[in-house]
């Protein structure tokens, strides 16, 4: 997180924290484990009222940000949601809302943004990998499967990339279009829902195309960057909370007549954990700033965040489990909820290894 927030940002952060603590405590998160949607719709609408879904949408479309860069406001929400392992489709809704706000036609914006901003509707982003499309009449016919789409079975709108005639386009497809099937998947996180979304001979009109055809690859890259910035902020928020809990536990728990926190073997591990945590904060913040300002090194910093944060988040949390002892591996303790979230975030929107390869391509050139 940024170390210096504006007054508005601090107040927004506090409001979000209070709301999550009161309306969606961890007991509620646990109770949603078997819920097919994975989040209470009313909770999501009220979160939207607080501004969660408005920040990447311009005022003309019913949105508005607190600071110059809405993304730097939005990472505060992602971080708070990480701290409470909160439910809700923040990443896909934000990615699609921002894509439409930046590139959507007037009709697309009018059709989708009000619902997303109010929290009444959900959108899913079918990821950076395109499916197949062939021209058919004025429009296109889509075939293929978008795998592990977050909120794919909860969404009313899908933003999907498609390969057509050797190029890439992006399409906005209502989920109730004939031939679209979202199959919910099981998953590691108790409340984060993924689905495989199948497109069988799905006919879409030309009005479904989002943005200029030639600019789709760049737009998809930006969507990926936004997704990763939010994901990174969420993971870092989760790490922050786990670290606090562990530090407190080590102070409270006594063995051999002294607090665990007095043992140097443990203090030194905690020091390393703190260093990793601050490094995660640092690279997450660096990536967020770069994407918000469209800096030249945005892609590089985003991939660096993926490479660094994923493995260090799970390592830190596993170490916190070890520091808790047996209670840390029980279902009753909340640690595993955080570990689940961090693990899911580590491997989605590209694994650390995928992103290391992106970095390698930049440093060494493409692999031959």
């Amino acid at each position: 997180m940024e170390l210096e927030l504006t007054e508005e940002q601090t107040s927004f952060q506090q409001t979000t924290r209070k709301f999550l603590g009161a309306e969606c405590p961890i007991a509620t998160v646990r109770a949603l484990e078997t819920d097919p949607i994975g989040f209470p719709p009313e909770y999501w609408r009220r979160g939207a009222d607080l501004g969660w879904t408005s920040l990447l949408v311009p005022e003309g479309d019913g949105g508005g940000s607190l600071s110059e860069h809405g993304l730097l406001d939005l990472v505060l929400v992602a971080e708070e949601m990480g701290r409470m392992v909160s439910p809700g489709p923040l990443v896909p809704v934000s990615v699609v809302a921002s894509a439409l706000a930046e590139q959507g036609t007037t009709a697309q914006r009018a059709a989708v943004l009000p619902g997303l901003v109010s929290g009444e509707a959900v959108a899913a982003w079918c990821g950076p990998d395109p499916i197949d499309a062939v021209p058919a009449g004025d429009g296109f016919t889509l075939n293929g499967v978008a795998r592990s789409v977050e909120a794919g079975a909860q969404a009313q709108h899908l933003l999907v990339g498609a390969r057509v005639d050797g190029g890439v386009i992006q399409l906005l497809v209502p989920v109730d279009t004939v031939g679209v099937t979202a199959t919910p998947l099981g998953g590691l996180d108790l409340v984060r829902r993924f689905a495989d979304v199948r497109f069988d001979d799905v006919a879409v009109p030309p009005s479904a195309v989002v943005g200029d055809a030639g600019a789709a690859a760049e737009a998809i890259e930006r969507q990926l960057q936004i997704a990763i910035v939010l994901q990174s902020a969420e993971t870092v928020g989760a790490m922050d909370r786990i670290f606090e809990m562990t530090l407190e536990y080590l102070g409270d728990r006594y063995s051999f007549g002294r607090p665990l926190s007095s043992y140097q073997a443990l203090k030194h591990r905690v020091a390393d954990d703190k260093m990793w945590l601050e490094a995660c904060h640092a690279i997450a913040t660096g990536a967020a700033r770069a994407v918000a300002t469209r800096a030249d090194d945005a892609a590089e910093l985003v991939s660096a965040a993926k490479v660094w944060i994923g493995p260090h988040a799970t390592e830190l949390m596993q170490d916190c489990v070890q520091l808790h002892g047996g209670i840390g591996v029980t279902w009753e303790h909340d640690l595993h909820l955080y570990l689940r979230r961090a693990t899911v975030n580590r491997v989605t929107y590209g694994t650390p290894e995928d992103h290391a390869e992106r970095i390698a391509s930049q440093v060494l050139g493409a692999a031959s």
Partner: protein, 416 residues
């Protein structure tokens, strides 16, 4: 007196033009080929900065600096990247010793030394560690006994960088043996090259001779050269160590130009070049390793920015500097490990008549502990982070509330 501060961007433009006219281009390996000749070149470069009005950007104007902000310094450093700079003056002279002098020196001490330092005329070093002391800096046995207007110093210091080529040191010595260890120390300014001080260079595992041991034999130090209060040298030393961690970690406001040596955020394409030259650029494992090293540099840079900002605005306490130091030290170790893996058999043997990257890397690997030991070992940084930053209980110490003369001590090796 109030004056309008030059806006950062104007300062940046002025610096850019001046640098282009005044400084030679960066040769790329200045710190790797450091010797006495290079040292003289750097003193000359510092003098150019002074003559051009760009020396000591964050130092007080009263003592020859520019009295500008960290943002000005950062802008200058960014503009200076293509140029050769007096890199070795940054650490320890400017970033550690001059910084400590700003905090604790008397008006006369600052007047006497800071402008000279900023002109490149004085190189400084710290005399803290002792052969018997290890990480226990306050367990200092070098003594300074008051005799009229002077203190008479006897003892030995070790692990000082390039003391043989330096002019002055800040030296911690025991002035009171009847109080607990932290309360009987005093910091002195010591002129290095004078009768009674013998400087010996120590050969390191990589063959380098930078580090020194000093022996003091009835050296007379004027009482006016006490830094801070008598018997309160630990306060000065503590601040010096904070400056050291910031400077070594790459986050000092008092240093100018790209960081060199062990700064893990520095851009370095050595590994990438080696991978390309050895035909491994298509190897997936090698690509992952190169990417990891690159990411570590990026993360180090972001961490330095974060901690520097945090300490500046008060969101983090000064002990947060240890985060940068520990990160840099562990980063270096991992980087050389990656280098060794990528170098393969080239790290064992090389053509006798050419210098290869693999050779450089394998020799550096022997020395990879340098940053993990110098400037406070990793273990000490972990103590500082856990105790000072996170508030965990302090380690038990058997020497805390008793007069230092009664503290048990082990046998003193001549070097150790």
């Amino acid at each position: 007196m109030t004056t309008d501060v030059e806006p950062v961007e104007e300062f940046r433009r002025r610096a850019r033009a001046w640098l282009a006219d005044s400084m030679p281009p960066y040769a790329g390996d200045a710190d790797a080929r450091f010797d006495d000749g290079r040292r003289e070149v750097e003193k000359g470069l510092q003098r150019r900065l002074w003559d051009g009005g760009f020396a000591g950007i964050c130092f007080p104007a009263e003592y020859g600096g520019l009295g500008l902000s960290v943002d000005h310094q950062r802008a200058f450093t960014e503009e200076s990247l293509p140029y050769d700079m007096p890199f070795s003056l940054n650490v320890p002279t400017l970033g550690i010793l001059a910084a400590t002098l700003v905090d604790f020196g008397t008006h006369e001490q600052k007047l006497r030394h800071l402008p000279a330092i900023l002109r490149g005329e004085e190189l400084w070093v710290q005399f803290l560690s002792e052969p018997s002391g290890g990480s226990d800096l306050a367990g200092c046995l070098t003594r300074a006994d008051r005799d009229g207007d002077v203190y008479v110093m006897n003892g030995s210091k070790i692990w000082s960088s390039a003391a043989f080529a330096s002019d002055y040191a800040m030296c911690l010595a025991r002035t009171n043996w009847d109080v607990p260890k932290h309360r009987g120390l005093t910091m002195f300014i010591v002129k290095i090259h004078q009768p009674g001080i013998q400087v010996e260079q120590i050969r390191q595992v990589d063959g380098s001779m930078e580090f020194c041991q000093e022996f003091f034999d009835d050296v007379a130090i004027p009482a006016a050269d006490v830094v801070g209060e008598v018997d309160d040298g630990w306060t000065v030393a503590t601040r010096l160590l904070i400056h050291e961690r910031n400077a070594v970690g790459g986050g000092s406001p008092y240093t100018s130009g790209r960081s060199t040596g062990h700064d893990s955020s520095r851009h370095d394409d050595t590994l990438a070049r080696m991978v390309q030259e050895s035909g491994q650029a298509g190897n997936a494992h090698a690509r992952q390793l190169v990417a990891e090293a690159h990411v570590r540099q990026l993360v180090a840079g972001q961490l330095i920015q974060r901690v520097t900002q945090g300490v500046t605005i008060g969101a983090m306490g000064p002990p947060a500097g240890s985060l940068m130091k520990l990160f840099a030290a562990t980063n270096v170790m991992r980087r050389y490990e990656i280098g060794l893996e990528l170098a393969g058999a080239g790290a064992a043997a090389w053509p006798a008549d050419t210098e290869t990257v693999a050779q450089q890397l394998s020799e550096l690997t022997l020395w990879r502990q340098g940053l993990s030991l110098g400037g406070g070992s990793n273990e000490i940084q972990r103590n500082i982070i856990s105790e000072r930053l996170l508030g965990m209980p302090r380690e038990f110490a058997a020497d805390r509330e008793i007069p230092y003369r009664d503290v048990r001590r082990g046998a003193s090796p001549s070097k150790g």
